[in-house]
């Protein structure tokens, strides 16, 4: 079985990082940066205000950027018959989904953490705030990845699945957002732990919920 994880992960990464028509990992990063760039235009160049609210903006931008590739995560492989062929070879849907969560996270988590550096500069965040934002993103983005893949599997094959998956992810991502962004407040470090805990719960559920969803979609 372990000999098959390598090719699966390699394929997923190639599709999600370089990703042909979808723009791959570049699109979420550009989206994220453009939000960080537009925000000062919208609220005005008031440095203290930007510094106070900038961390939260980064979090919202990260959440929205994570939603962008959802429609490419699972549905194309069901349509192509990839899951059928994997099932025939004894490769479970759970394994495929688990590998995909990892690949999805690699394709947007670390790139967003890197992009948070210029974004923090645009918003005038100080070093301490940036540090907490980065740790928070490290704790929270794996959960966002797990949630994204699960919801993508659930909405695969539905009409308007892309829009629906965005709507489904946002409320379910609220715990990560509250704890992650909340960690920026005074004495909020425990929020990081709670964001991490929410991430772990989502990571634990994702392969089974996603695998069951793929089997149900197959009908």
């Amino acid at each position: 079985m372990s000999g098959r994880i390598g090719p699966l992960l390699k394929r997923d990464l190639a599709r999600l990082m370089l990703g042909g028509r979808g723009g791959g990992a570049v699109m979420p990063v550009l989206f994220f940066l453009s939000v960080a760039m537009l925000y000062p235009f919208a609220v005005g160049p008031d440095a203290p205000l930007l510094a106070r609210t900038g961390g939260g903006v980064i979090w919202v931008a990260a959440l929205l950027a994570a939603i962008l590739p959802l429609d490419r995560l699972v549905e194309p492989d069901i349509e192509m018959g990839m899951f059928d062929q994997w099932a025939l070879r004894g490769i479970s849907e759970e394994l495929v989904i688990a590998v995909r969560v990892l690949a999805h996270w690699i394709s947007f988590g670390p790139p967003l953490m890197l992009a948070a550096l210029p974004a923090a500069a645009l918003l005038g965040l100080d070093g301490e705030t940036l540090r907490i934002v980065e740790i928070g993103l490290l704790a929270g983005t794996p959960g966002l990845a797990a949630l994204g893949v699960t919801v993508a599997a659930l909405t695969a094959g539905l009409r308007g699945g892309a829009a629906l998956s965005g709507l489904l992810v946002i409320p379910m991502a609220v715990p990560i957002l509250i704890f992650g962004a909340g960690s920026l407040g005074i004495g909020g470090e425990s929020g990081l732990a709670l964001a991490g805990a929410a991430s772990l719960v989502l990571l634990a559920i994702a392969p089974f919920a996603g695998g069951a969803a793929v089997r149900a979609a197959r009908g």
């Binding site: 394929r11 192509m80 062929q85």
Partner: protein, 185 residues
């Protein structure tokens, strides 16, 4: 398989279907569109639940249907290469299938028949004992039809089993035929 029945939505497509295939045997399932040929293959493959009855298979199962499971954006060589790494296969008979010159062409630019031949290459590389072929001749030219028939004959000669769902004639010695209409509910 014994007493197999299949339901799609509220309709039961067929029931009381029993058969048995041993090594080297091939069976063609015939019938008009919508009678449940593809559903039967998916039940045998374990990809769809049977409404009633049991399927028992020994050995690995390979399937070719209208979904070719090859990344449309990748060149054919790399799309097949993915399955080679999964299956650990060395030889997909690419030259025989006339795919050697197409390895650099992205899958989305291939014709229906070329994709079908690529799916057959994937099936050969899988080295499965049981072949499930859903309309394997659709979109193939005369030469490729003969080639597919030869490949199935070789597969059966090596002790493999082939279950073919097709409304087109499939020429193969020792081929049994079963009309699914006889079991229609």
């Amino acid at each position: 398989m014994t007493d197999l029945a299949c339901r799609r939505g509220d309709r039961v497509l067929f029931r009381q279907l029993s058969m048995r295939l041993g090594p080297g045997e091939a069976l063609q399932i015939t019938g008009r569109n919508g009678i449940g040929k593809s559903s039967l293959l998916r039940i045998v493959a374990g990809l769809a639940p049977a409404f009633a009855g049991n399927v028992e298979t020994r050995g690995s199962i390979g399937m070719v249907d209208e979904r070719h499971a090859l990344d449309p954006l990748l060149p054919l060589g790399r799309a097949l290469g993915f399955w080679q790494r999964i299956d650990g296969a060395a030889d997909n008979e690419l030259a025989r299938l006339g795919l050697s010159e197409l390895l650099e062409v992205p899958v989305r630019y291939l014709s229906t028949g070329q994709k079908k031949r690529a799916a057959l290459a994937r099936l050969i590389g899988q080295k499965a004992r049981v072949w499930l072929l859903d309309e394997p001749l659709n979109g193939l030219d005369v030469h490729a039809v003969e080639l597919t028939e030869t490949l199935v004959a070789e597969h059966c000669a090596e002790g493999g089993i082939a279950l073919i769902a097709s409304h087109q004639p499939f020429r193969l010695g020792h081929m049994q035929a079963m009309a699914l209409a006889d079991y229609a509910a």
